[in-house]
């Protein structure tokens, strides 16, 4: 009983308390700060493990805190929330290690790590949110806590990017707020429920609910970078590499995608929204985003920007899966939540390593870097192949289920979208891999000493990348094993569809 | 009929004087015009059977306010070029007539005044012809109030709370004015300048007279028109005279003593108000038998405070300088 109340709180506090302590700590206590960050991350991981066990055995973790009239803040751990929490807890640990290495001797580290931990707390809150209001609360907190991270460098460019980010996300937040209030007004509750809580209202409130649905999707779509709401994402690339990693893999983008998942599955219910005909537009939007993001990625020479457009494209797989209305596709979408995170964070770690150790920011500068930084590029290669959807990496598993789901939903054209996207992914990732491994170093404008002194990145930078790369392989290879994301996602879908 | 004629004439004169007071070409003239305006106003109060107000208006509205304004006008003019003292906005939009703002402002003002006037007139015309207000209750409880004069009863008993706060208003204004004075020492005033024979003798005659009259007003105020405000205002007049005569401050009148005087009224009033609560009464609920002495004590203290405060207000406006060593002192 107490555990069921305390667990969500502890898991939230395990990053919130370090955040506060970090802010209060003198700026030069680097060691202690690192210890607190890592300690919090480890503790969180341990608790998450316990909770995973509990949720699997149908134990409920639920904590309510009185907040608005009739609408308490609810932290509730169901299978879906554990999914995101596990992802964030795991990747937070890796990213923390990475960030400690990355920001060695950089200024403003206290601020960075403080907001970093806050950011994760917000993500955990999003994951644990038991109703739309709680979700909204943490969603907005996430916006705010990531702002300082995006603006961290303090350069005009970074600030400009941060402003763009904020303009988009706060705009989305406003739309979301409107939609949430409206929904509350219509439905009288906001608590997530498997298969949705609006079933009874569809008959009389159909058009209103449709409008609200699209408002909600638009609100979440900003963070999920659905075209045309994606403009902030490539710009936000000015942030330091760990931030980009977190933004793309765990926190911001994932929050948006997770929001869409929640709306479709636990507010409206997949079947209900399918019946209401709400899903086709979402499918179209997601499909368009997938293709558009990939096409844009093709033209980017800047490595992080290319990765950013790749994110735009990849994250929409999640929405796509949810929008097809078939359990298998939804499974694919949901499992991509984790898969994309693990793979994309690897890519950003590697991009950070390249920038940090070799001063490489563009694809065209990467000629032959694979020889000098083999481990980094190996991790990059694995993750990139995963993104393309090559088995046995994680991306394949998601795409497989999406494809099967699309076929099951008789949406053959979605398979075409997947195929196109796979082609385009290959078209922008393979040249990178080719350049890194096979291109001859010194053929660009005769400068051979581009990265003559570049050596492999130091271990705090390297280890997380290798870990996540290995992870993206393992969760693909052992996709059907007991503890794999896919199995867990199957559990989610079974509960969601009431199977 | 004559009363009607008086009324109409008085009102017309009032309006005309008000107009002049605001818009006379020279600011000195405008300011001085406020004196007859105030006096006429006092007459009107008397005509409206409000002798208490009449006395207060004469002393405060006409006397002290005008004195303040004249002092200010002098001070601004002494610094030359008072036109530049016009409000910031005015500096840029110089109209032909420096008194008035631009055409826009005049137009807005006129339209606003007309609209508001029309509405207000309609509202006033719609007021019920008869409304006894609270006078029945006042009459009924007058005997328990400790004051014979209903106005005093209202001021110091029925609505004593307002009055208490009002003394605080005075204190606030004083603090506000005093803090604006500058730390730099003022121009040195030589002994010859300081003593003007005429003013000196005037002061010597008039000040004691005023003190006596105000004492009378205070004492009488319990039952007839008059009271702490009127008495205090009169006393302040004496103070103003002393200031104008550049009378040196007696040695015993240190800054802190002055501040004590200033606060006396509030302290006494507040003290009484709170202390009655010890016996289980409400705030300001005087015991009936003690009502009269308490009121008198409060009035006495209030008179002193009002007088000192008003005097210092005038002094503060008149002499903008302050010796750095003196803190919050009087002139």
């Amino acid at each position: 009983m107490t555990a069921s109340v305390l667990m969500p709180l502890i898991v939230l506090l395990s990053s919130l308390v370090p955040a506060v302590l970090i802010f209060l700590l003198p700026a030069d206590r680097h060691w202690l700060r690192g210890a607190m960050s890592l300690g919090g991350a480890t503790l969180k991981l341990a608790i998450v493990a316990i909770m995973l066990w509990g949720v699997f055995h149908e134990q409920t973790y639920r904590l309510t805190i009185p907040f608005l009239p009739g609408l308490p803040l609810t932290l509730h751990a169901d299978a879906l929330s554990m999914f995101l929490i596990t992802l964030s807890a795991l990747l937070w640990l890796f990213t923390t290690i990475y960030a400690i290495g990355y920001l060695d001797n950089a200024p403003h580290r206290r601020r960075f790590f403080g907001f970093f931990s806050l950011c994760v707390s917000a993500t955990v809150g999003i994951a644990l949110a038991g109703d739309l209001l709680t979700f909204l609360v943490f969603y907005e907190l996430l916006t705010l806590t990531t702002y300082p991270l995006v603006a961290h460098r303090g350069s005009a460019k970074a600030l400009q990017a941060a402003r763009t980010y904020l303009t988009y996300t706060l705009g989305g937040g406003a739309v979301l707020l409107l939609a949430t209030v409206w929904l509350y007004h219509v439905a009288g509750t906001l608590a997530f429920r498997e298969q949705g809580f609006l079933n009874g209202l569809v008959a009389e409130q159909g058009p209103t609910l449709t409008v609200i649905f699209f408002l909600l999707i638009a609100g979440f779509g900003v963070k999920a970078a659905l075209v045309p709401l994606h403009g902030w994402l490539p710009k936000a690339m000015v942030a330091p590499a760990p931030v980009s990693a977190l933004l793309h893999a765990v926190a911001v983008v994932k929050a948006g995608a997770f929001g869409i998942v929640r709306v479709v599955s636990d507010v409206y219910g997949i079947e209900t929204s399918d019946q209401m005909g709400l899903l086709l537009p979402l499918t179209l939007a997601a499909s368009f985003t997938i293709v558009y993001g990939s096409v844009r990625a093709l033209a980017q020479d800047d490595l992080k920007r290319r990765l950013a457009y790749s994110t735009v494209s990849q994250v929409s797989y999640i929405a796509l899966g949810l929008s097809l209305g078939s359990p298998i596709a939804a499974l694919g979408g949901i499992v991509h939540l984790v898969h994309q995170g693990v793979m994309k964070i690897t890519l950003f770690f590697c991009a950070g390593n390249l920038a940090e150790s070799a001063g490489i920011y563009r694809v065209s500068q990467m000629r032959g870097i694979g020889r000098r930084m083999p481990w980094t590029m190996a991790a990059f290669t694995v993750a990139a192949f995963g993104m393309i959807g090559i088995p046995p990496l994680a991306g394949f598993v998601s795409k497989w289920h999406l494809g099967v789901g699309a076929a099951a939903a008789n949406q053959g054209w979605v398979i075409a979208v997947l195929v196109t996207s796979g082609l385009l992914n290959a078209a922008y990732f393979l040249p990178i891999i080719h350049t890194a491994w096979f291109a001859v170093e010194n053929s660009v404008n005769g400068k051979s000493d581009d990265h003559k002194d570049a050596a492999e990145a130091k271990w705090p930078l390297l280890a997380p990348a290798l870990f996540t790369a290995a992870l993206s392989m393992i969760i693909g290879l052992f996709a059907t094993a007991d503890a794999s994301p896919l199995t867990w996602a199957t559990l989610i879908m079974r509960r969601e569809f009431g199977l | 009929m004559t009363v009607w004629a008086f009324d109409i004439l008085a009102l017309l004169a009032l309006v005309w004087l008000a107009w002049r007071a605001m818009t006379a070409r020279r600011i000195e003239v405008a300011v001085v015009t406020f004196l007859p305006y105030g006096l006429l106003m006092a007459l009107v109060w008397a005509r409206l059977r409000a002798p208490d107000i009449a006395i207060a208006e004469a002393a405060i509205g006409a006397g002290l306010t005008t004195a303040l304004l004249i002092a200010a006008a002098n001070r601004i003019r002494r610094r030359s070029a008072y036109e530049r003292a016009a409000d910031t906005a005015a500096a840029s939009s110089r109209s032909a007539d420096a008194r008035l703002g631009g055409w826009g402002k005049q137009l807005v003002g006129a339209v606003l005044a007309c609209v508001v006037g029309g509405l207000l007139a309609a509202a006033v015309a719609n007021l019920p012809a008869q409304q006894a207000g609270l006078s029945p209750q006042v009459e009924a409880n007058l005997s328990d109030s400790g004051a014979g004069n209903p106005v005093t009863a209202v001021l110091l008993n029925f609505r004593g709370y307002d009055t208490l706060l009002e003394i605080a208003v005075l204190l606030l204004a004083l603090i506000g004015v005093m803090q604006l004075r500058r730390e730099t020492p003022g121009p040195v005033v030589s002994a010859e300048q300081r003593h003007s024979l005429v003013l000196d003798s005037l002061v010597h005659v008039i000040v004691p007279l005023i003190v006596i009259v105000s004492g009378y007003l205070l004492w009488r105020g319990g039952d007839a028109p008059g009271g702490a405000f009127q008495a205090g205002a009169l006393l302040a007049g004496a103070g103003v005279l002393l200031i104008l005569n550049k009378q040196a401050r007696p040695a015993w009148l240190s800054a802190r003593v002055v501040r004590a005087f200033v606060a006396a009224g509030l302290l006494m009033f507040g003290g009484v108000a709170l202390n009655v609560m010890w016996t289980g009464r409400n705030l300001l609920e005087y015991p009936i038998e003690l009502a009269k002495p308490l009121i008198l004590a409060i009035e006495a203290a209030a008179t002193v405070s009002i007088a000192v405060i008003l005097t210092m207000l005038f002094g503060g406006v008149l002499t903008p300088h302050r010796a750095p060593s003196l803190q919050g002192g009087a002139s």
Binding site: A355, F385, G389, V419, F438, G476, F478 | -
Partner: protein
């Protein structure tokens, strides 16, 4: 002994060894001290596969439910043929690569990629479910890119580009095919999917998609462009395994994926046959106009694979005789794989300086022998394979079979012409004798390969119809094998006489290797110039690097 071996081999874990050994050897490269042993160990990594192919009992299946989407590895008779030929070719290719001149030049990373490709190739053969098949297929495809562009010259880079582009297209289309099938069948297991009663409509879709997806690997006409470029670009051992082993991945893919013997798909079958025939002839025509022997061989592969695709098409149209047809196809595949690999190795040998006249003679023999086999000369393995195939086609109920019976000998004549062309182009001249050169492993491996290409088909148990060997040795069959060869040689001789310098191949009569890819490249460039103007402009202006 054999019981013991059989015991071990019937254990599921053996599949792990088949695939894991190459990968483990490749992984050694990451250990500094062990790195230099990688090239040496590379060929031996195929040993478990060879052992399994030869001695493992059929029907051993390992279910690995926790792997990927629930994997199944195992061996059936089809798999055994492919596993054998794959392992053999990789082994011999690996040995060939041991030549010091090559090994020193290539470096460890070549062998790492070699091993990875090998693992993929072996893995896909033993995969009995779509996901793992697809996985190994992808591993093979992407790792072999490194083999193709091994020498890094601009033309090789272009070849690599074309290769990877086509391969990726094939990958994703294959993905679509599998996804559709998996959904329709409700399972990702090949065998279960074939039996799942999928509607013919879906089968049609799957078949067409797989024709496109796997067709890239098989060089189906229209998707074949990468082949001449890559074979030419890749170093000899790589070209040998690509042309011999990897090309058959497509074949095994089709055999696993399509409902042979279950459902008749006349239209799709017709499509297969039509495209196959087209390839069989077009390969010959374009191949004749090539100036590089490897390109000639590549077009020969196009042509040969075309024949097999045509045969598959026929099989798709007549479900009844599938069991027999399968045997013919398998034998043909085995023959073609070994012969083609031998040709490539021989060609590689012919490019090298030889230490003595005798060895040059050996080289010449190594060139001619498999060429004859491929041409289907009597008593060669080719003769047996072709005979089997023809008889099966004749017995099938397909509307195409008459056509095929008529056309195949003509194609055979074409093949002979191609082989003549090839042998002429790679005939080692007199100047190439050098005392220092002793490419012993290469020579040995080439010879072994040639030998195998002759012997294996005959020795293979249950190859084709029971009396195939007999049939092939009958006078009628001998004639059937001999006349195209004779006709071809005659035509070649005439050609040489009339068009004088065939060996110098006048420019008028040549086509660039990869034929239509040149057009596609031009069109692509123009398109990019149109679309990408903005992007190019933007990237031309120096941009602040992001961090």
């Amino acid at each position: 002994m054999s019981d013991f071996l059989a015991n071990i081999l019937s254990h599921g874990g053996v599949w792990l060894l088949v695939i894991a050994l190459p990968m483990t050897v490749a992984a050694l490269a990451t250990i500094r001290g062990a790195r230099r042993y990688v090239p040496l160990l590379a060929p031996w990594a195929t040993l478990p596969a060879l052992v399994v192919a030869l001695w493992a009992p059929a029907g051993v299946v390992a279910d690995v439910p926790w792997f990927l989407l629930g994997a199944q590895f195992g061996l059936d008779e089809t798999g055994r043929v492919f596993l054998f030929l794959t392992a053999t070719i990789w082994f011999i290719g690996g040995v060939y690569a041991q030549s010091r001149s090559f090994r020193d030049h290539a470096g460890t990373h070549f062998f790492v990629l070699f091993l990875l490709t090998m693992a993929g190739n072996l893995g896909l053969v033993v995969s009995l479910d779509m996901a793992s098949f697809y996985m190994w297929f992808a591993v093979m495809t992407f790792a072999s890119y490194g083999l193709v562009i091994h020498s890094r010259s601009p033309s090789v880079m272009r070849a690599g580009r074309v290769y990877i582009a086509m391969a990726v297209i094939g990958e994703v289309v294959l993905f679509a095919a599998m996804v559709v099938l998996a959904q329709s069948a409700g399972t990702a297991n090949f065998e279960q999917a074939q039996l799942a009663g999928v509607s013919p409509d879906r089968w049609r879709l799957v078949s067409v998609l797989s024709l496109l997806g796997l067709g890239v690997k098989a060089g189906v006409i229209g998707l074949h462009m990468w082949m001449p470029l890559s074979y030419r670009a890749a170093p000899t051992p790589a070209a040998a395994v690509m042309s011999g082993a990897m090309i058959n991945a497509a074949l095994i893919g089709w055999l696993r994926l399509l409902p042979f013997g279950q459902v008749e798909l006349p239209v799709v079958g017709g499509l297969f046959t039509g495209l196959g025939l087209l390839a069989a002839f077009a390969g010959v025509f374009i191949g004749l106009m090539q100036r590089h022997p490897k390109a000639v061989l590549a077009y020969s592969s196009v042509s040969q694979m075309g024949t097999m695709v045509a045969a598959l098409g026929v099989a798709l149209q007549s479900a009844g005789r599938w069991q027999f047809a399968l045997g013919a196809v398998l034998i043909y595949a085995l023959h073609h794989a070994l012969a083609k690999a031998a040709l490539f190795l021989a060609q590689g040998l012919s490019e090298q300086a030889v230490p003595s006249r005798a060895s040059r003679w050996l080289t010449q023999l190594a060139l001619v022998m498999p060429a004859l086999s491929l041409a289907g000369a009597p008593w060669t393995s080719g003769a047996l394979a072709k005979a089997g195939l023809k008889s099966e086609i004749a017995l099938s109920s397909s509307v195409w079979s008459d056509w095929l019976i008529t056309l195949l000998p003509i194609a055979a004549v074409g093949t002979v012409l191609l082989m003549v062309r090839f042998v002429c182009l790679s005939w080692p001249g007199k100047a190439a004798i050098s005392q220092q050169a002793a490419p012993l492993p290469a020579a040995i491996s080439a010879c072994v390969m040639v030998t195998l290409s002759y012997s294996t088909v005959w020795l293979w148990p249950n190859a084709g119809p029971a009396n195939a060997a007999e049939v092939a040795s009958s006078p009628k069959a001998l004639w059937a094998g001999a006349y195209p060869v004779l006709a071809g040689i005659a035509i070649a001789w005439l050609g040489v006489k009339t068009i004088k310098p065939v060996r110098l191949a006048p420019n008028r009569l040549t086509l660039p290797a990869g034929d239509i890819v040149v057009l596609i490249e031009k069109a692509g460039k123009r398109l990019f110039r149109l679309i990408g103007k903005q992007a190019i402009n933007r990237s031309a202006t120096p941009r602040q690097p992001l961090a």
